[in-house]
Amino acid sequence: MSVDILLEYLPLFAQGALVTLKISAAGIILSLLVGLVCCYVQYYRVPVLRQIAKGYIELSRNTPMLVQLFFIYFGLPKIGLSWSREVCAIAALVFLGGSYMAEAMRSGLEAVDVIQTESAVSLGMNRFQVMRFVVFPQAMAIALPAISANVVFLIKETSVVSAIALADLMYVAKDLIGNDYNTSEALFMLVVFYLLILLPVSLLASYAERRIRYAGYGA
């Protein structure tokens, strides 16, 4: 492995990392929102919407992200919806992540004992206040490990977007291997950059879990 080549590749991978980060950040934030909406709709048993959410979750969890991505990138333009590569990549990540986040949050909501809701209600809180101040904080504390596992999973899943020629980390590596045959350098940089992104996320997640456990949330 040559250090010169590694140094030469550094800016290219940094570029790719930026793309990966951008798609991950947008995808994860929107996944959380989609997940929140889906799990509320199920928690409050909203008719019709609840069945739609259920259908979406099953569809999303039981198809590979690559298929979802191809469907959005190659399929949707046929019905007049064509988006940029980047938007397609984010949309696919959200389509996948929304269901995973919904399931994680739903398990959190369901783990909060009904007596918590009842005592809040008997103090005169309305539905919104019960959720906002009593159920939601406890549910999120319970769901946190699952949510952070999903965050790591989704960041790793972004590697799939290279399939539509979006220049993320994976794409940069594949490109360099194909052009220069410097396979070991390219793969080494790929691993290093994914670790640089994922390790802090994992560490932050376990720190947050420890803090919350210490505060006695959900206990």
């Binding site: 005592s119 008997s122 005169g124 309305n126 206040q129 006695g216 949330y217």
Partner: protein, 251 residues
């Protein structure tokens, strides 16, 4: 105690999905300042009655009114009505993610829009009364069962309710912690709080009650002053019930 009726239950009929009537025509008036103790065998519907009184359960017929305003689970104005009725449950139901102080101030601040400092001062005053001022920054899991129940009482009192409902609040406690909770309730009664109490502590019932209501088979079987109830119960069912609390050495 006054003649003014605060909480009125009329011909209440309640069944759960798939059960026969748990309450089958209960009528009960609670006067302002009165302490009513509800007794009855396990499963006779005491908790159900209290839960209906607080609008936590739907009922099939009859009516429950607080100062003439109708209480139903999904009725309009229920959040306002529930603020006037405090409830403490059997299991400790403090909010585990909030400190003791925040447990107490949450509803006054968010629901009644009491300024934060004022709610805190009030929480401290109430905690002092139950001897738990030093626990105000602690979390529920750091408290004993008896301490948690005293906080639960304080949390309900912080809303300045007109009537308090207690559902076997000492049933899950170790014996040595029962007393500290009952003492708080006795003090409340002496201060003139209107209370409906479900309990299995017979000595306490006798000491605190203005009136005993004995429920069995979904109806009120006996309704009288504590002295009469415990010394000269008039029905066979009440006699049987009281017997379960006395022990005799087998020959």
């Amino acid at each position: 105690m006054t003649d003014e009726i605060l909480l009125s239950v009329k011909d209440l009929v309640k069944s759960y999905e798939g059960t026969s009537e748990v309450l089958n025509g209960i009528s009960l008036d609670i006067h302002k300042g009165e302490v009513v103790v509800v007794l009855g065998p396990s499963g006779c519907g005491k908790s159900t009655l209290l839960r209906c009184m607080n609008g936590l359960e739907e009922y099939q017929s009859g009516s429950i009114t607080l100062d003439g305003e109708k209480i139903t689970k999904n009725g309009a104005n229920m959040t306002a009505l529930r603020q006037r009725i405090g409830m403490v449950f059997q299991s400790y139901e403090l909010f585990p993610h909030l400190s003791i102080q925040d447990n107490i101030t949450l509803a006054p601040v968010q629901v009644q829009k009491v300024p934060k400092e004022q709610a805190q001062a009030e929480a401290e005053r109430l905690l002092e009364r139950v001897d738990l001022l030093d626990k105000r920054t602690a979390y529920p899991r750091q408290l004993s069962g008896g301490q948690k129940q005293r906080v639960a009482i304080v949390r309900a009192l912080a809303m300045h309710p007109e009537v308090m409902l207690f559902d076997e609040v000492t049933a899950a406690l170790d014996p040595e912690m029962v007393r500290e909770v009952l003492d708080v309730m006795l003090t409340l009664a002496e201060q003139g709080m209107t209370m409906v109490i479900v309990t299995h502590e017979m000595n306490f019932a006798r000491a605190v009650a203005d009136r005993i209501v004995f429920i069995d088979g979904g109806v009120i079987v006996e309704e009288t002053d504590p002295e009469t109830f415990f010394e000269h119960p008039s029905t066979e069912r009440a006699k049987q019930f009281l017997k379960t609390f006395t022990f005799e050495k087998k020959a």
